[in-house]
């Protein structure tokens, strides 16, 4: 856990580089990027949740990130080709998972705090 600042630093660097390059995506590809961002968020929260549950696996995390992003983009692409707003399915799925993950993380944090408090009380006794 002592190296947790490194990802945060890289996140900040990424945002800074993105803002500085002044890069813009053409209007047609905006949906793809938004869904990719959503997938990235999902993976992020999933990783946090897994690490709190002590089931974090590096391979799962990395492959999950890339496959989620790729699958979401593919789904959006197929939707565009068929004339169906299929990307909404991805938005829905990721949205639901985002909320679930956040809820789990919240519970984990609360549990951990309660446990530590109890342990401290036990020690005091």
């Amino acid at each position: 856990m002592n190296r947790m600042w490194l990802p945060v630093l890289f996140l900040i660097i990424g945002v800074a580089v993105g803002l500085m390059t002044n890069l813009r995506i053409p209007e047609e590809y905006k949906d793809y990027l938004s869904i990719a961002v959503l997938a990235a968020f999902d993976t992020l929260l999933g990783g946090v949740r897994a690490s709190l549950e002590k089931t974090f696996n590096e391979t799962v995390f990395v492959t999950g990130f890339f496959s989620n992003v790729a699958l979401a983009a593919l789904l959006a692409f197929v939707g565009v080709q068929l004339g169906i707003d299929l990307y909404l399915a991805a938005v829905f799925a990721f949205g639901v998972r985002l909320f679930q993950n956040i809820a789990v993380i919240r519970r984990q944090v609360i549990d951990q705090r309660l446990i530590t408090r109890k342990i401290e009380k036990m020690r005091q006794k």
Partner: protein, 239 residues
Amino acid sequence: MSKRTTWMISVIFLVIGFMIAIQYQTTKAGPVERDTRDVWEIREALESQQTQQQDLLEKISKADRTIEKYQEQSQQEQIETLKSSISTLERKLGLTQQTGSGIIIEVKPIFVETEEVQSYPSISPELLTRLINDLNKFGATEIAIGNERVTNLSPVRGVNGYTYINNRPLPPLPVTIYALSSNPEKLSDYMVVSQSKDYFAIENLELKVSIKSNITLPEYEDPLHLEVLQKGEMGETSE
């Protein structure tokens, strides 16, 4: 967590941050507006901008000259300059009598022998507005309709079926319209072939245009209501 894992996660965070930044920029900027003008249109736009610049420069130099005059002169002369600029402005507005060469347009009814009973024609506000626009377009400097001087603020309104100008009703036909111009012959030629002549003819009205060298226009007497005026865009206030 091993060192490799941390680095891997860090790189993924970098990618995520980059994507978020680009997404943010794309949604914030909105669609890029493309300039689809061709060379000719750009040239025209450039020319109009240059004309505007020229106008503004001329105005600035005129104002500068006035300021110089004020600064150079004694108080007595300053008052004189002030008075002269006031009278210039009054003349421009139409608050003074104005004499010059111009044209006289007589509006007369046309009577047609038909089986229907013909009502006595009158000038509608739309017709009058059209005629004033035409006169201004063809280079009339000052216009008076009957005894009413037309200024930039003169309203032409229809009230209960009567045409009002400067908030006073137009006298019954025939009505005489005076227009001063630096080139009365040209103005008269334009008016003879102008479209307003046709439009007046539809309403059974005849326009008779004649040139006169010494016409005196009455002054505008009512108070000026300037509070309704609003500051316009710079591009539209060319004189």
